[in-house]
Amino acid sequence: MTSTAAPAQVPRRRSLFGSASLHGGWRSAFWFLLPALVGFVAFYLYPALRGLYISFTDWNLIANRGSWVGTDNYDRLFNDRQVWESLKITFKYTVINIASQTVLAIAIAVLMDRLTKSVTIRGILLLPWLIPNVIVALLWVWMLDGNLGIVNDFLGLFGMDPVRFFTDTGKVIPSLAGINTWRHMGYTALLIFAGLQTIPRSLYEAAAVDGATERQMFRDITIPLLRPILALVLVITIVGSLQVFDTVFVATGGFGGQPGGPANASRVIYLYIYQNAFDFNQLGYAATISVLLVAILLTVTFLQLKLLRAGESDLA
């Protein structure tokens, strides 16, 4: 609306500034963008560039200084088995987390769309997402504990042996992925639910008239038309998932463990970065691993948007 009105206002703006080398719309846009731009430069761009610089130094966090070491950190990065081990764990977590979360979220969203419009139910589904990550992790540490946890107490009623969700090397990543699925599925469902609202009702009516079943409508109408929204949701959740940190840190550290444990079975890439920066006091190397992570995130995002053709809709 404003963009169509803007040309008419150009003369007035010209009189205000005395020059109009830029299109008037750009000028006003600049002023509107300025606050966000200042934030972006101060809190994203500058730290990112400084991080890039620090990745070429042997920065000592405690002393807060470092000197240029060229590509030493990058040489170390490619020979550091732990980095690739951490990435493997991170990908494993992401696959489990995204698969379970997305399937559940689509199911919930379709149920919300087809069965109920209750705001209360939508609110309840969002509740886990509103609880801070650290609280969620602590909650589950207590509930899933092998000795004292209520979940194992319950399993015991069925004669099952206690399951050590966080302290069994094979179960820790699925357990963490499960917690974050529980926390995020309501929110993801809401995003998908919003996407469902863009699908014209007439398509379902037409399909119903032609005798299509719910299952067929879901497969042939809902999923294809949901693709642009799903692409966006997947990009957001996968990028978030690859950056998992707080849940792992709190749930595996617990009250007696080692964050990333047991035996490094849950040391995701962010935790390894944290260890290098804050435990080993090697901020330079931590920055180098961060640069690698940024490169991976950019690649994943780019590929996803391309492969899922996020810009196009099948509606047209």
């Binding site: 405690i62 000795n147 047991p262 260890q275």
Partner: protein, 472 residues
Amino acid sequence: MNKALWRLLAVLFAFSIVAAACGSDDGDDADDAPAATQASSSDDGDDMSDDMAEAVSIEYWLWDGNQQPYYEQCAADFEAANSGIDIEITQFGWGDYWTNVTAGFASGSGPDVFTDHLARYPEFVASDVLVPLNDFVERDNVDTSIYFPGLAELWVDNHGNRYGLPKDFDTIALVMNSAHIADAGVTADDFAAAEWNPDDGGSFGELIRKLSVDANGNSGDSPDFDPSNVEVYGLGLEGNFGAFGQTTFSAFAGSTGFEFLDVNPFGDSANYDDPRLAATIDWFARMIEAGYVVPIEDVESLGGTTVFQNGSAAVMADGSWKIGTYTGADTPFDVEFAPLPAGPSGSRASMFNGLADSINKNSEHPEEAWLWVKHLASPACQNIIGEGAVVFPAIPSAAEIAIAAHEGNGVDVTAFTVHVDDGTTFLFPITDSASQVEAIVGPAMQEILRGQADAAERLAQVAGEVNAVLGS
């Protein structure tokens, strides 16, 4: 409507121009300001220095909330004697504490004085963020021989610089669930007389077998004992083994004659490939499998203290700083303490750790900070800490007060102090890369105790990685 919208935008825009103009006016003022502010600040300055003379604020950090009230008392006495200095005490939990201290150093702020730990201070020294106390100590003729032998020297680096004055010490002993040991017909004296070795566990091994009980009520020395369904484990574990096992394996490994470092403090080579260490860790792994020692999986999440307080372990090794935890309301049963068992070397071995107060190089008032450190390390303050009966102060006479205060509460703590009296302690290993060593050894210990790796093989591998870090 469009017109109205544009009018609104124009007003907003005009407003922002005016605001910007005002802003730049301010800027000009600021540029012109130095003369003016200098003039006024010289007045302020006098006031300020008067104010300063009245109250220099020294920020002091510690992590143990149980000790805070007694340090508040020390601070009150100190402020009464030094009217120009105001002590502000802040407490953070152990995890947050080190994050905040590190952030304080990095940002050029942080506390003036803080409670320092042997596992951390070498990294601070390497980063040059602590004030060496040598000149202060010399100038004020502070006698560093009034502490338990060895405590003061822990804080001197290999260049002879002193970075802290001792405040307290801790040792390790066994804490026992009185009901459990009575049920098994075992007494604290049995433990005090026990011997341990990594092959068959010695008489100590027999005691913990006897104390283990499965769900059917069979004790560990019965042939019917079911290790997969244990109700009470003979021996609990305070937590993760980590690299130094202060409250877990260190006492047992130490009693074989094992030493962590070639030189302590500041060794550049560690002995993780020592067969005596491998035998010790292997003993734990075998006992976990046999159901006599609590599985490491069960203590990694909520911690071994919770497992012990839950009644799932009969006996556990822990540090003297936890005495209050076991004798207080958090532990719903009576406990007794016993010294650690003697090992193949013929004697007991408790890790001996001491804390000290260090001064941050960023402090704007090093002189006042030093006065506070001096007071904290003096008998006047340490006697107060002793009365609190939370930790053992570093000065022997003050430690006596703590022991007497514990006795007054009906708690016999000689199990902890006997290690000092008999000289059966060894110093906490001090290296300048403790956290990296921890990150290498910790996961390996977790694998061994889960039966996923062979102790000797895995520790030999660890030794190579650790020495690569220490030697660099």
